[in-house]
Every structure is written in C-alpha cells, then in structure tokens.
C-alpha cells in the first residue's frame, strides 16, 4: 500500500466513526443536528478519499452521476412537503437498493466478460454478490410499489388473489434456488439474470397484498433490506465502511419494524402475508348497538374553551387534510385561555415511523408537548376533551376489550376513558382496516363530520367567540 491507499483507508475509518457518532446524536433532539453534521462530514471524507482511488481512470461518468444525483436529491429535499415524507422515504429506499443492485450487476458483468479475471469470482464472492443483487432488486421494486401506494397511484387496499401466498413462496423459492445454484456455478450467466428478473418481480408481488395502514412496518422492513443490500456490497468489494454503514441502516430498519409490529401486536409474517384489511376483517365487525351522536361545532367549541385539559390524537387523516398547522393554531388559542394541551402519538399513526411527530414539529408544536402511548394513557381519565383527528384503529377500544377482534391486543390510545371525546371524521365510513370502531358509538363520543382542516378552521373561529 502506498500513501494514497493509506489515506483512502483512513477516510473510510473516519467516516465509519463519524456515522456512528451521528446516529448516537439522534438519541436526543438537542444533539441530533450536530450528529448529522458529523455524519455529513464523514460522508464527504469518504467520497473524497474514493475519488483519489487509483482504480479510477476517467471521471466523466462519475461527475455526471454526482451532478445529476446531487441536483435530484437537493430538489427533492427542498420541495417535498412534510406530509409526503413517507413517499420520499420509499423512493429513497428504492434508489439505495437499486444502486447496490447495479454495483453487483456491474461486478458480475466484469467477471463474466473477461474484464476482471474470472478466476477471482470465488464461491464466497458469488454468494455475497448474489445476495446483494437479489436483495437490492426486490427492495427496488418493492419500494417503488410502496411509493405508488403511498402516492395514491395504486389503490392502497391490499390486492389479493387466490393462491397468492403459494405463488409468492414458489417465486421466492425459485429465486433463492437460482442464488444457491450460482454459488456453486458462479459463471452461469443465464441463472444470474433470471434470478435478477425474478427478484424484481418478487418485490412487486411482496408489497401488492399489503394495505396502506401497514405501511409503517413495510417501510421499516424495506429500509432494513436496503441497508443489508449495501452491507452485502461491502462484502463484495471488501470495503469495511460499506459493511458498517449498511449494517447500521439494516439494523435500524429491523429495530423499527419490530417496534412497529409490537405497536400493532402482530407478527411480521402476519403483516407480510396476512393481507390485513381485506375480506378477513369483515368477519369480526359484528352489528353495533346504538347510533353515532353527531355534535355541532358550537358545542365542541364551548367544550374545548372551558376544558382544563385537552389531548389531541392525530392520525393519518390529519396528514391527508394537511391540518397540522390549524391544529396548532387551535392549541395556541386554547393555551391562551389556560387550557392544558397535549398531543398523543401512537407509534403506528400515519404511514411511517414518527410521521405524526414530524408533521406537528413542522407546525411548530414543541416536542415537549408530544407524548408517547405509555406516557399519555394514564392522563386520559383526567382529560376533559380528547380530540381525535383522522385516527381510527389506534383508538379502537375493541383492541383492548374484544378478544375476537382482528386487532385484539394492539396497544391503543385509551381516548374512551376521557370525560368526552370528539372525533373529527371525513364521513361515516369505516376506517382503513374496514373495522367497526365501537368508540364512535360510545355515549361520551361526539362525531364532527367533515374535512378535518375545515372543521378545525371553523373551531378556531368559534372558540375565539366563546
């Protein structure tokens, strides 16, 4: 190794350390910004180091890629609204995984076209490369599918057909079979490209039967896959910083997907293959007794204005209605009147982990007012009004009371224990999972129909006149 090589290795080591410090910073909002700057600096160092690499003979393609990618990434970061964060994240999983897959394909091409000595294509190397390409390919199309569902380009409801699970399993088995075959016969080019095509196909079919409400789990899982694909790239290129960064990403996604599953009291298998929210869910929605009670805007305004404590419970409906700013306005007016205002955030509210927190932060809600499920549940009995904004399953008391419910055992925000509940809801239809929500029929609950943003705007005016 000459000095350049030492320098390159040094930048990689520094980058690895800075990445870890960067993620460590994310343990608190106060230290997070500085942590990210460290990680950014680490990335810059690694890139500069790589550009000095003597394996590079021409820079045209590199510069072109850097410029295009930089412009695209910058534009996306600048213009994407916070409500579209799940879509953007899904798209970036696709990009990351695709990059990993392409590196694997290019390497394989080089080995099988005499550009690199085919003798170096060992079984071990082929194993890492096959893993990288397979995982990268299925994550690419899977993430694009998730993007399409989140963006509303494809219906969000699960798409199912007879024998779907068996077909998917067979497809996966074939893909893995080809992968194993390649490990033993690395030069079998046809097998490689067929495996690649099947992996692309499998990604689409994997996400097709998953409902939009399960997106937090899927997003986390795809995050994990994208990271592991990058780690596999590290194995192929014998590059430690790639292994470390990819593994951190992979495990972060893995931890998040476990947390999300736990927050829904469901297993990963159930999320992936259960096609939740389609036909199966209807069985449990037994006929509800009583009727929903509609309340008038003025009544709600008076209730809120004279309350001691109000808890807002946001859900995906708040995101679709873009109502986060007006929620904060209402909260401001209430706080001025001396009402204590809190926000209850369920881990799977929204379409990705932490979705609601980001939206409320965007609307300038201080994070000290945002409470997690375990913190806030004891507060509901002493709360005068709980305002549910476009949330449904996360406040469904059936999860707690009805062991036969498909969501039985899912931890919920116990809004029904509050002295009164106001539910802001678009229409009388069922929630995303298609489940009946007994909360809406409880005597304490009043329904306020209409677009959440609209209703809240009117509420702001009404409260000011109380």
């Amino acid at each position: 190794m000459d000095y350049t090589q030492y320098f390159i290795e040094f930048t990689y080591l520094a980058a690895s350390i800075l990445f870890i410090l960067g993620l460590k910073g994310l343990s608190h909002p106060e230290t997070a910004k500085r942590g990210m700057h460290l990680a950014e600096f680490g990335m810059l160092m690694a890139i500069i180091g790589t550009l000095l690499s003597r394996e590079i003979v021409s820079y045209e393609w590199i510069v072109a890629g850097l410029v295009i990618g930089g412009a695209l990434g910058g534009a996306m970061a600048y213009w994407v609204p916070m409500t579209a964060m799940p879509q953007r994240t899904a798209l970036s999983h696709a990009f990351g995984a695709f990059a990993a897959a392409l590196v694997g394909i290019a390497e394989y091409y080089n080995y099988t076209h005499n550009i690199k000595p085919v003798g170096d294509l060992t079984h071990l190397k082929m194993g890492a490369m096959g893993f990288e390409v397979m995982l990268g390919a299925l994550t690419t199309t899977g993430s694009l599918m998730a993007f399409a569902k989140l963006q509303g380009m494809v219906r969000g409801t699960p798409l199912t057909y007879r024998g779907q699970n068996i077909f998917n399993m067979a497809l996966l088995a074939t893909t893995v079979g080809l992968f194993v075959y390649l490990i033993f016969v690395p030069t079998a080019g046809v097998a490689f490209y067929v495996m690649l095509a099947l992996a692309f196909l499998f990604g689409i079919l994997l996400v097709l039967p998953i409902g939009a409400a399960d997106m937090p789990v899927v997003m986390s899982l795809l995050n994990s896959y994208a990271g592991l694909a990058a780690a596999a790239t590290g194995f192929v290129l014998s590059n430690n910083v790639l292994i470390i960064a990819g593994t951190l990403d992979g495990f972060s996604g893995f931890i998040l997907s476990i947390l999300m599953c736990r927050a829904m009291n469901r297993s990963m298998t159930n999320v992936l293959f259960g096609a939740f929210g389609s036909a199966a869910a209807q069985a449990a929605s037994d006929g509800q007794e009583g009727a929903m009670r509609e309340v008038s805007l003025e009544d709600v305004a008076v209730q809120l204005a004279y309350a001691n404590q109000v808890i807002f419970v946001p859900g995906y409906g708040m995101a679709t209605a873009q109502a986060q700013h007006i929620v904060r306005e209402l909260a401001d007016i209430l706080e001025k009147r001396g009402v204590s205002v809190k926000y209850a955030i369920h881990p799977v509210a929204g379409r990705m982990p932490g979705h609601m927190n980001v939206l409320l932060a965007e609307a300038n809600v201080p994070y000290s007012s945002l409470y997690e499920l375990e913190q806030i549940n004891p507060d509901f009995p002493s709360t005068d009004v709980a305002v549910v904004i476009g949330a449904n399953d996360v406040v469904n008391p059936d999860a707690r009371d009805n062991p036969k419910s498909p969501i039985a055992g899912m931890p919920i925000l116990e809004v029904d224990r509050a002295r009164s509940v106001v539910v802001l809801k678009r229409g009388k239809g069922k929630g995303f999972s298609g489940l009946e929500n007994p909360l809406f029929y409880k005597p304490v609950t009043g329904m306020l129909y209409g677009d959440a943003k609209d209703s809240l705007t009117k509420l702001v005016q009404a409260v000011q006149h109380v």
Binding site: L26, W61, A106
Partner: protein, 130 residues
C-alpha cells in the same frame, strides 16, 4: 484515449484485485467480524433513538447507507463501457440519497423545538401550565 493509458490502470486494478479485493475465507471472516460488531453497535445506538425522531432516523440511515456511492464511483470510473454506465446510474442514485437524505434530515431536525426556544409560544404558556 490511447490504449496505453487505459491499459496501465487495468494492470494496477488487477494487482489490487489479487492483492486485496479477492475474497478469501480469511477476509470473509474479518468482514463477518465487522458486520457482527456493527450490528451490535447499531442495536445499542439505535434503540436509544426516541420514537419522536424515528422519521429523521430513517432518512438519516438512508443517507448514510448512500455510502454505497463509494463502490459505485469506482465502477463508474473504470474504463469499461457497460460497467461505467451501470456505475453512472448507481452513482446518480446513491448521490440522490446522500444529498437528499442529509438535507431533508437537517430540514426535519430544524423543526424540532423545545418550548422555551419558541418566543411567541413561551408567552402563551405562562398560564399555570408546566
């Protein structure tokens, strides 16, 4: 470009391949050590991230795993048309993630504020509230 120029880096490339890049069982074991230790470390570090910051966490790890850019750059820079084009696309994809991921994480983190730092709200909170 004269063929002599593009040949000599190829020779060098070959040398690095034989010297370092070829995967032996020894280097695989070493890579596995790195992988397992990074996994443990990742678990420790990431389980301390509060749910509040889960979205920034996801976009940050996304940006960080854009380090696959390092691999893409080398492939795009080697002088072989097919590999270069694949590498070029990979560089573009990975750069999008790095730049977009870090910028958007910064943008999100700037929004997270503690109560005291927001001036107009600190006035409102003086009414017997914690």
């Amino acid at each position: 470009m004269p063929s002599v120029v593009s040949r000599s880096p190829n020779q060098l490339n070959r040398k690095t391949v034989q010297g370092k890049n070829i995967m032996t069982s020894g280097s695989l074991i070493a890579a596995l050590y790195v992988f397992v230790l990074a996994a443990f470390l990742g678990y420790q570090v990431i389980s301390r991230v509060p749910p509040l910051l889960h979205t920034p966490l996801m976009s940050a790890t996304n940006a960080i795993s854009g380090i696959s850019l390092v691999g893409s750059i080398v492939i795009a820079g080697e002088h072989h048309t097919v590999a270069s084009i694949l590498g070029f696309i990979a560089v573009a994809c990975a750069t999008t993630n790095v730049v977009g991921g870090f910028m958007i994480t910064d943008r999100m983190l700037r929004m997270f504020r503690k109560k005291e730092t927001v001036l107009d709200r600190s006035k409102a909170s003086g009414n017997g509230k914690v």
